[in-house]
């Protein structure tokens, strides 16, 4: 194992040195591009590596999820059991915040969570890469989320109420006078600040994790044995933080949906849900 690990680390180091300022461990596309610099296919794949790895994750998730869902046994076994547990857990979590009507958002939020989680974990596999360590990936996810949230808002509240909501639900002359300002502020926050914070948080965390793994691998090349245990520890940390980041993305997306839904639709004990959502948001 030591020899293999050493070889990998050496390759990583060498590749990093070769491509200049490296921030993460090399993946197989980086290595291929390095080995065959004139090959346009490898060059293209290397430039679009985040998309390639995203497609890899999509393929894997799609294959496993559809295979598990297809069995449809009354008494579940194996993969169906695991996917049902995930579905049940996510449904319970989402409806806990959004109320019983929140069950319609489980497919979107569930896909988002699982996709981000596997994207994050992919960087742990040797010669693969976390697509979420690229800002473009996380921006795409944030845009999809914000569009979904506001589409839900328009559908649930109606266009007029949604517009009023965006103007801060003005009441009285002062409220009406401040409505344009509130509109500008809400649009800035909801359509710019929120996706920016969502995407930047995920991107920064995952790219930092990858950088951490890279630095420990580099230490392994420089020193023997001892850094390897640190790297093991870092791997465990990366597993946990990747899960936490996927969960944070899911939680915030759920809270945004909760905040844009009409107040009376927060079910019978809506107040409790609202308080919970605000508490989570803070």
């Amino acid at each position: 194992m030591d020899q293999t690990g050493h070889d990998i680390a050496q390759t990583a180091h060498a590749t990093a040195q070769a491509v200049g300022e490296a921030h993460e461990l090399p993946n197989f596309l980086t290595v291929l591009a390095k080995l065959f610099p004139e090959n346009p296919v490898f060059d293209f794949l290397h430039r679009w590596e985040n998309v390639v790895f995203s497609l890899l994750v999509i393929g894997f998730i799609g294959w496993r999820a559809i295979a598990a869902a297809r069995t449809g046994r009354f008494i579940p076994k194996g993969a169906q059991n695991a996917w049902e547990a995930v579905t049940e857990g996510l449904t319970s979590f989402v409806t806990g915040i959004l109320g019983p009507r929140g069950v319609v958002h489980v497919p979107f939020l569930g896909t988002l969570f699982i996709y981000i989680l596997f994207d994050n974990w992919l960087g742990l596999v040797p010669f693969l890469k976390s697509p979420t360590s690229g800002w473009s990936t996380t921006i795409a996810l944030a845009i999809v989320t914000i569009v979904y949230v506001h589409a839900t808002g328009i559908r649930e509240q109606g266009p007029l109420n949604y517009a009023k909501h965006m103007m801060g639900s003005p009441q009285g002359i002062v409220g009406i006078a401040l409505a344009p300002l509130m509109l500008v502020i809400n649009i800035t926050v909801d359509y710019l600040a929120v996706p920016l914070s969502l995407s930047l948080r995920l991107f920064a965390n995952i790219s930092s994790e990858d950088r951490l793994l890279y630095k420990f691998a580099e230490l392994n090349v420089m020193y023997k044995m001892l850094p390897f245990f640190f790297q093991l520890f870092a791997n465990v940390l990366v597993i946990i933080f990747s899960l936490v980041q996927a969960f944070v993305f899911l939680l915030l997306s759920t809270v945004y949906i909760s905040l844009i839904m009409p107040r009376e639709d927060h079910d019978q004990d809506g107040k409790a849900h609202e308080k919970k959502a605000i508490a989570i948001h803070h």
């Binding site: 998309v51 497609l55 559809i66 489980v106």
Partner: protein, 166 residues
């Protein structure tokens, strides 16, 4: 600005967005819906069966109560019938006793009447015999003309003779 240009590639953003939408719609149709429908069907079936079990338990409890009440009723009826049978037995015994007593009384009176009749018959017979004897005595007295002592002796002999007669 250079940092943004380096890290954000609009083409990649678009493709990633498209990729996510594809996985979302695919999973929604082929994974989430079947999984949630399986879970829903299972929940409904369990709820249905659970309700059935609860109903059956209630039915069993009701039947048990009815059965116990029925048993109690049977016990009660049996006790009442037993009491009736005892009363009837006592009544019959009393009737038999009264009847026996009546018959005994009748028989006794009849016997007593018979005895009186027999006694009367015997008395009449005796009187007739005495009369007859008296006539015989008178006849003898007249025929033999005996003295007083002789009369007494003869009378005594006659009485002894009478006593020897069966």
């Amino acid at each position: 600005m250079e940092y943004f240009q380096e890290n954000i590639r609009l083409g990649e953003v678009f493709v990633q967005l498209l990729a996510f939408l594809i996985v979302f719609f695919t999973l929604r149709k082929f994974a989430w819906k079947p999984l949630t429908s399986v879970l829903k069907a299972r929940r409904e079936r369990i709820e249905h069966e659970w309700t059935g079990i609860e109903q059956m338990k209630a039915e069993v409890a009701r039947l048990e109560k009815e059965y116990k009440e029925h048993l109690q009723k049977i016990d009660e009826e049996a006790r009442v019938k037993m009491q009736e049978a005892i009363q009837e037995g006592r009544r019959v015994a009393r009737e038999i006793q009264e009847k026996a007593r009546g018959e005994f009384q009748t028989s006794l009176e009849k016997t007593r009447a018979n005895i009186e009749i027999e006694f009367e018959k015997a008395r009449i017979e005796l009187r007739r015999e005495v009369a007859k004897l008296s006539l015989q005595v008178a006849e003898k007295v007249i025929r033999e003309k005996m003295d007083a002592a002789h009369h007494e002796k003869k009378a005594m002999e006659l009485i002894e003779e009478l006593g020897k007669k069966p």
